[in-house]
Symmetry: C2
Amino acid sequence: VDARTGLPVVGMVGAGQLARMTHQAAIALGQSLRILADSESDGAALIASDVIIGDYRQLTDLREFARGCEVVTFDHEHVPQSHLRALVDDGITVAPGPDALRFAQDKIAMRTKVTELGLAVPAWAAVSADAGGLATVETFGAEHGWPLVIKAATGGYDGRGVWVVGSLDEAAPVLEQLLGQGTAVLLEQRVDIKRELAAVVARSPFGQGAAWPIVETVQRDGICIEVLAPAPGLTDDQADEAEELALRLAGELGVVGVLAVELFEDRAGRLLVNELAMRPHNSGHWTIEGARTSQFEQHLRAVLDYPLGSTELTAPAVVMVNLLGADGDVEPKAIDERVHHFMAHWPDVKLHLYGKGWRPGRKVGHVTALGPDLDRTREQARAAAAYLMNGDAK
Amino acid sequence: VDARTGLPVVGMVGAGQLARMTHQAAIALGQSLRILADSESDGAALIASDVIIGDYRQLTDLREFARGCEVVTFDHEHVPQSHLRALVDDGITVAPGPDALRFAQDKIAMRTKVTELGLAVPAWAAVSADAGGLATVETFGAEHGWPLVIKAATGGYDGRGVWVVGSLDEAAPVLEQLLGQGTAVLLEQRVDIKRELAAVVARSPFGQGAAWPIVETVQRDGICIEVLAPAPGLTDDQADEAEELALRLAGELGVVGVLAVELFEDRAGRLLVNELAMRPHNSGHWTIEGARTSQFEQHLRAVLDYPLGSTELTAPAVVMVNLLGADGDVEPKAIDERVHHFMAHWPDVKLHLYGKGWRPGRKVGHVTALGPDLDRTREQARAAAAYLMNGDAK
């Protein structure tokens, strides 16, 4: 507890945009997020008061950081299980806890569990060096077709750690590299999908659950570029199914905080679980303006075992478009000029910049538009984002 | 400019709730507000990274603080004119500038100017020791009736520096005290008002203006307790008049940033200017959730000469209720318990706590409710605030 305010101290490991936006939400609740940052120039470290510079891979740094926190939570999934368990043994409340977080850290553990629960996932197999490696790939390809997807079971994000391979020859070097560095490997059928969806929910230790409307997420090169809320053209049955699936997963896995379930919708309209994240997630950024309670406030409420907030939409259509650094250097001065023009052209589109350098392909911010209908709102958000990214509106 | 982000640095003198909420808005714009705080325990100092502890009455502290800021702005009106002018002479951009800010610092200068502009104010007179003092009060009382209002021309806020006196005998000690300490004194007719309104607008150096809908402000003991947006029962003509009056004042006074014009509506429906504030204002807190652009973001946009944002409402009715420390001590632990219960009972009412101790009568936070109709929304906001303040819902 912060003695100055009587209010709890939440510690977040990681200081990227998720911590940055969680701190904004913490301020309204009378709190100040404590942040473990790699460096003083991390996006959240630039704006928060209670920042500790340290290495989340070092247990001593984590222990130092956790002292005095009511609860420790995460802006990423990379804290090793052994450290998480050591913190729990120290008496620290960790949310989500290591037993839950395992399923967001290890793609094989997640698929094993989700399959056990009877939920649909794309066909998959684990590959290990001693079980024959390439032979497993050959068998899997023969059964489920080529191309197939190879994923590093741990450590991937934003399209990293994912390879689509068209043949055994293409698979071989990927496999060799991953197994050689001791990374477990997952094979996955490449599903012919109609689109991707996401179900974002929150769960508190008390067991309360809350779900935002199901959204469509648009990807390019494995990176989310747009989120449409609510997902257009979804049947009520599909929406119910996705919501129930996510709330059930949150309960079965013992998640505390926000859970984002990335889903495939296949050509037949079936929903398959793709990936899980147990933290505020890019597919929920639209909730800052688009829902009565943002995913950042909700995550704080959940990890503190406060009652959850209303997930009601604030507009019929909400569209979030990510700002990705474009190819070529962008002078810092140019960013500020673009912000001027953006504000002049789109006075009702909301801007979120993350305090990061504009390197190519990097998520440096997002914009959110809200309106009465999806098409116009989407067009507006896209044009605004294109202008900010490229200096013109193409 | 912040070299790490290429984005501008705004400095705000004062570290209360206005700076705290302005920092939240700055984060979204990719910025980090630089704050001049009296103490490390000030509400905004608790949550921001770029805090300088200093005394706004000391020019050296102000100069140190202003170095590297694109613009210096304010969370209160108390910086002396001489210091403001010295900063301007140093080449610092000060917004609002000293010529404008004078009218928010000196109630006599404001009334002189507003009267010159032909806008309605309650009948008033300045009192000075050499011009007879009490004799002026007697003449004013005979002309405009008793009781009358005595105001300190400078330094007052939240009902401080205001006395309603029923007779010359009651006026004498107030006058003696104020004139004795060298404070200029204003006499004002006590207008028989129907209610109070506020027109909140913003103006950029470029000259762009933007107005939020006119709101009704409900006062108790000279302190704002509730804001209803938009003001119920206002005619279109009244709304237009109030908005035009505020935008005209912003232009005529050369205001840069947010200008709040507190208005009286008298029994005949006429609007009289009561007070001015040139900064985000309590009557605009509802804009955080209730308008597309909050007054805090708009203030930043205005002082940076960015184009202004849309002031469109996000719901038909928005009600803000202040949280005032109740009589008797509140244990810090009790605040957190109340927050739990508040969240359980009012999952769609938004909470803002300022990081301040709950002393009697002090503004420690606010709640905002949004809904389709005013009556239900107001009831909800009032009940939630009453619960948070008193631990029960009366």
